[in-house]
Symmetry: C2
Subunit: 208 residues, 2 copies
DNA sequence: TAGATTGTTAATCGATTAACAATC
DNA sequence: TAGATTGTTAATCGATTAACAATC
């Protein structure tokens, strides 16, 4: 892919994917940018621009074939490939993510879960057993892990991230409330729940 | 507040707040936009523009007083006020959020937790007991609830959101993977975990 | 073919960055 | 006062929207 795709476009792709999936499930065969526009409440112009970043998926006078477009976006998002994940931090959040089955449907396969707390070791989460942190390095190598989910408190997060980087992890899904400073070939996606809640609080304050 | 503040600015405020909190804890008294810039990896120009959306918090030749600025951003974000929350959906994610103590420090107080599953009713989560959904309406009124946290599967989310709106909830923190269609005076903040993971997957695919 | 709707270029809008006068 | 650094205006950059020719 030559051209650099903007963050704004990328951020919209999963939502397109979701709507197209719903349409597909409903048996809808084709859709125009205009119809999708009124459904998703974005401009038809933006929809066409967005898709054309990746090539022409539509057809003049017809619109877009739902199933085909769904498949193409799925490919763009890398959902046709399998990813092997480990979860670092088996607290409530780590367990919640481990138990969320829908990720597996998209090719995200949880291989292991780790925690520093010895009291949790050996506890079963789905088909995984909570392991001590010392096992992490060898487990990554042996199981071809490419994504690590960081669900530990911010205090330990930076150190663990460094260990992950040393062991050639490719991506970190970071729920710890710190900015990780990793080499730029390591992909990081942050989920900062408290920031999200603060945004809600801001809106609430302004709207009285 | 007269001028409309852009979403981009609002989204950056919690991060400023976090960095200023850390600086305050370290005992740092003053900071210039240039210093904050190299710390946060955003331009000094953007920092000054952002703050000046809300008035002048700095002083020429001096910079910004960390504690004062922290306090001002705290006010802007509405963190000096108390919010009463309920959690709808006592699954793993709902429990994870209920147990995350740091929210309380910022004035977000969990008052109740609800679930449709009778097997969970009566179970204790911190100082709350999981209640049946039927109790929700009266509980909202009696406890002056302004924020509802939606941690239920997407199937029930739209219906529950409608019930919340009817009962004058002011804001919904939505973890269900649907777009809620509520009146525009109701504030909604979405946390779509699967979309976040897909973005990570996209980056991973592009970077090989 | 005529009608519909894309793909794409051009126009507009908004956000970010640069520059510098104001001022502590 | 001189130096530092903000607040703010102006310039630039990028993203969104509008328009329309291409084409199914």
């Amino acid at each position: 892919m030559e051209k650099q795709i903007s963050q704004a476009v990328i951020a919209r792709l999963p939502r397109y994917f979701r709507y197209l999936g719903d349409l597909k499930d409903k048996g809808v065969e084709r859709i125009s940018s205009q119809e999708l526009s009124s459904l998703m409440k974005v401009t038809a112009s933006q929809i066409r621009q967005d898709f054309n970043n990746f090539g022409g998926f539509g057809q003049q006078g017809y619109g877009y074939n739902v199933e085909y477009l769904y498949g193409e976006i799925s490919k763009i998002l890398g959902l046709t490939e399998k990813h092997h994940l480990i979860i670092i931090g088996a607290g409530n959040l780590g367990q919640a993510i481990a138990n969320y089955m829908n990720f597996e449907k998209r090719g995200f396969i949880f291989k292991g879960i780790f925690d520093a707390n010895p009291a949790l070791h050996g506890k079963q989460i789905r088909d995984m057993v909570i392991q001590p942190m010392d096992n992490m390095e060898s487990f990554i190598k042996e199981n071809d892990i490419d994504i690590a989910v960081l669900t530990i408190p911010k205090t330990g997060a930076v150190e663990v991230a460094n260990r992950l980087v040393k062991n050639n992890i490719k991506a970190i899904w970071n729920f710890a409330h710190v900015d990780l400073n990793v080499p730029k070939d390591i992909q990081v996606e942050n989920v900062h729940l408290s920031e999200s809640l603060m945004k809600l609080s801001y809106k609430l304050t302004k709207e009285q």
